[in-house]
Symmetry: C2
Subunit: 240 residues, 2 copies
Amino acid sequence: MNNPTITPYRQEQLTLEQTMLKMGGLCEAQLTDAITALETFDRDVAARVIANDPAIDRLEHDIEHQVTDIIAKRAPVPLVLRGIMGAMRIAGDLERIGDLAKNIAKRLTTLDAVAGQPKLVKGISRMADIAIAQLKTVLDAYSQGNVELAKSVWRRDEELDNLYNSVFRELLTYMMEDPRTISYCTHLLFCAKNIERIGDHCTNIAEIVTYIVTGVELGDGRPKGDHTSETSIEPTHDSV
Amino acid sequence: MNNPTITPYRQEQLTLEQTMLKMGGLCEAQLTDAITALETFDRDVAARVIANDPAIDRLEHDIEHQVTDIIAKRAPVPLVLRGIMGAMRIAGDLERIGDLAKNIAKRLTTLDAVAGQPKLVKGISRMADIAIAQLKTVLDAYSQGNVELAKSVWRRDEELDNLYNSVFRELLTYMMEDPRTISYCTHLLFCAKNIERIGDHCTNIAEIVTYIVTGVELGDGRPKGDHTSETSIEPTHDSV
């Protein structure tokens, strides 16, 4: 619905913001559904997530076109330019979040086929709760232009990284103890990694929101907590 | 070195292209070094890759600033705008390629600590050869504005996906057969996945190059070959 009291140029900027928030909302729904599918072994929900992914890609293209159109037609002043270039970069992160959610859903095809053990998914559920909350918060930060909210997302990512470290160790330990779970746990490892990456994309968005609002970039001082690339678990005697 | 016979505006565009190609060359070197480190268990090379990564991030920032400056100062016509927005999107893919190479290098810290088996790395080396070739080719396609070359990268990605599928199965089988390799093979699985992702970023860049040159986007008709999210390996009787 267009508002007659605002200029067409301002309307274009609002439409861009709305498209981005719509894209963000869809990513949130996709991630929530992908995790529900994983928790309940629900293939129908997984299939829906996979089917919905192209809609996210189309919204990213919409945003790129809107941004290019505005720049070409309006030659925006630097402040506006920062906002619309930022929107395009955020759309790139959202597209990846959508992709990672779809990838979790795709793994269901396999996880359903083997005897899944719900206890193994618990850590991943906790990770997903945080990731979904982070995504919600950073979208709020964008729509409100709230830098403090953005910074809280940036800071909270370490919690997700720490949880990922413990899920990684836990799954490796299960695999050692019972090699029949190797295939299953490997897929869960990739799901956990995907959620950890979603957290990284939320912090990227938080950095972009901060830049849009203040013109200043958040430094590289964020505490990094993913140490799994340096993690090694030795098998116990029982397991070999 | 600036050329006195071209306008300052054209010079800005050339500088942007040069920065992007410099970033691409650095990514290529980082990926080559990360794989060498993995093949030879060379921690010094791995440490160098990790230390070099911030240089790639700085180049991405440079590119974003150059793009924003050109747009703000010059209000480019649509054809030029397409080129410089494309450069910014390519820089995003290159930054991720650099990150994935760094992540491979980081895993060396662990792989070195356990008894690595060189035969397990062979499939990954073959994948890396293709990924490095794809990156070289797509950067050539960019600098030459060669759409046919870009399309060849787009089409060849399936080969990398197929190789990834077989490496994935191979590593899972090793883990089943000898649970002592679980921790080691898990890290190799993530390395393989990283290289497969690098291939995806090369096809993204190929799509952007095609769009820059022709104004038309490559469709979604690319053959997709990564089926590992649907792969399950059952343990043999010997292994449990």
